[in-house]
């Protein structure tokens, strides 16, 4: 693998930590006793893009899915430690899992719009699930979210068309709109561009930079350059000898890529393994 030094431009404002949208304290995930990822402690700051980077198998996706309690679906999965959303423990605190998921949205690796629903229905599906029925609200949410996903222009004339008619990149933006319609506080993105072509990827990356004004974004990516381009903070995870991932270092992107503390971080960003 070629040694590519990824330089990140110095940020324009000082990396003062604002309020934390989510806080992770000693988070570990295990499946039937086998630890998949552990020792994750860091704060996700509001209105910033935090990326989880690291080679495959380092537990990035596993960690991400703990943040909206998706592991509840997996028998044998246990999440240890504490995850706080605006101070509330998402597992043990006073918040139902359905409410949590309206405040923490998710976009998946492969675009997955609901195939039997139209574009409009996909966009408002979250609101419908949560009992919102008034057409005026749904219409408004559809328009706002589709605009936020930079999709409104191309679909506004064909909202009733089946979602499967869109291209891959458009479908993914529809999925982003679908998540945004819930107006979440945090948006989790699991390698959202890895299944897309470069142009679609670029569009979505631009989107993320705009999105962070309104939501906090946590993104898993195996593409270092992408992380360097779009994220403000970086968490670097690595698979340990016992095949469990652990957090090696967490800092601003600028620091991670230009001046990391841990030598393993440096090795990764220099492309020495991957």
């Amino acid at each position: 693998m070629a040694h590519v030094e990824t330089k990140v431009a110095a940020p324009t404002k000082s990396p003062e930590r604002g309020a934390a949208a989510m806080q992770l304290k000693g988070v570990a995930v295990s499946f039937h006793g086998r630890v998949a990822v552990r020792d994750c402690t860091f704060d996700v700051t509001k209105n910033r893009v935090t990326s989880l980077i690291g080679p495959s198998g380092s537990g990035k996706t596993t960690l991400l899915r703990a943040l909206n309690r998706l592991h509840d679906l997996t028998p044998g999965a246990k999440v240890a430690g504490q995850i706080l959303l605006e101070g509330t423990d998402i597992y043990r605190g006073d918040i139902t899992v359905t409410e949590l998921r309206t405040r923490v949205g998710m976009v998946f690796q492969r675009p997955n719009p609901f195939p039997t629903m139209s574009i409009y229905e996909n966009a408002v599906s979250g609101l419908r699930f949560n009992g919102v029925k008034k057409k005026s609200i749904l219409d408004e949410a559809a328009e706002t979210s589709l605009k936020s996903a930079a999709l409104w222009d191309s679909v506004q004339s064909r909202l009733k068309v089946a979602a499967s008619n869109l291209s891959g990149g458009e479908q993914q933006r529809l999925c982003i709109a679908r998540a945004l319609a819930m107006d979440p506080e945090v948006l989790l993105m699991d390698e959202p561009t890895s299944a897309l072509d470069p142009i679609a990827t670029l569009k979505i990356e631009e989107l993320m930079t705009e999105l962070k004004k309104r939501v906090t974004v946590i993104i898993v990516t195996h593409n270092m350059q992408q992380a360097a381009r779009i994220s403000d903070d970086c968490a670097f995870l690595l698979m340990g000898e016992d095949r469990a991932g652990e957090l090696i270092e967490f800092d601003t992107t600028e620091k991670i890529f230009n001046n990391p503390i841990d030598p393993r971080t440096l090795d990764y960003t220099l492309g020495r393994f991957g």
Binding site: G131, I137, E140, S148, A150, E210
Partner: protein
Amino acid sequence: MSDMTELAEPVETGNRMRDEIRSISNRARARRQVRSRIMFALCAVALLVTAVPLVLLLFQLFNRGLPVVLHTAFYTQLPQTPTLITPNATGGVSNAILGTLVLTLYASVMAIPVGVLVGVYLAESDSKLAATLRVISQTMAGAPSILMGLFAFSFIVRDLHVGFSAIAGSFALAVLMLPVIVISSEIAVRGVPHTLREAGLALGAKPHKVSMKIVLPAAVTGIVTGIILAMSRAIGETAPVLLVIGGGYINSWKPLDPVSALPLSIYENAKSEWPSLRTEVWGIALVLVVFVFVLSLSARIWASRKQQAR
């Protein structure tokens, strides 16, 4: 990029949406959760309801049939008609047992070779003939079995002047078994990884030798499973044989003689006025069901054992 300028300024509308969603009361949420639980509970009930008939049926079969099947006379004697003096003299069902074996044997001889070969052909060919045969076999597999009886009556019993006989019944059963064997053979051959075939061809072997010596042996498990299932079905069917085998009251191997069969004797005696015959019928049913279950389960075990060996 032009579409980026479409991004709405978030502040007001965003908060309205958030407010709308936050205002969804916990009670509404709880209600949806409860409804979810209730619906799943109903689904679980449905699952139990599905299991109930089988359990009840097995219970009745063993309860009423077990005493009957524990006498050797049941297997060795020919049936007798009870009389007022001897209301319990039902004899046995040796003719039906033999008849079922005979029918299944002849039917298998007719159906297996043709069925397997056609299945192999369908797996290996692209032609229109193959596509048509595939539709035909799937449609015939679901056809009402009484129609096979009509076919056998018209063709064998009447037009060929063979009369009511074992061979007529076997013919009807063969027509029944063929589509099943064709379909499962095709699935079995297609299940063989094509890398196996390609390896053989790459070594320079002729295509038909590759099929016969490499692909077919690998598909044997699936083919045998299909045959067992087809036989299991043939053993239990009444309608195809009802019209054509004549209900023979003697033990006979001969194809041209009328024979009986286990399902037929159940059908004939179920509505008998004699309680002893109505009881005996449970014994016959028990034998039939055990036979069919053993075949079905063996097919399953055989299929999965070979899977593991792979």
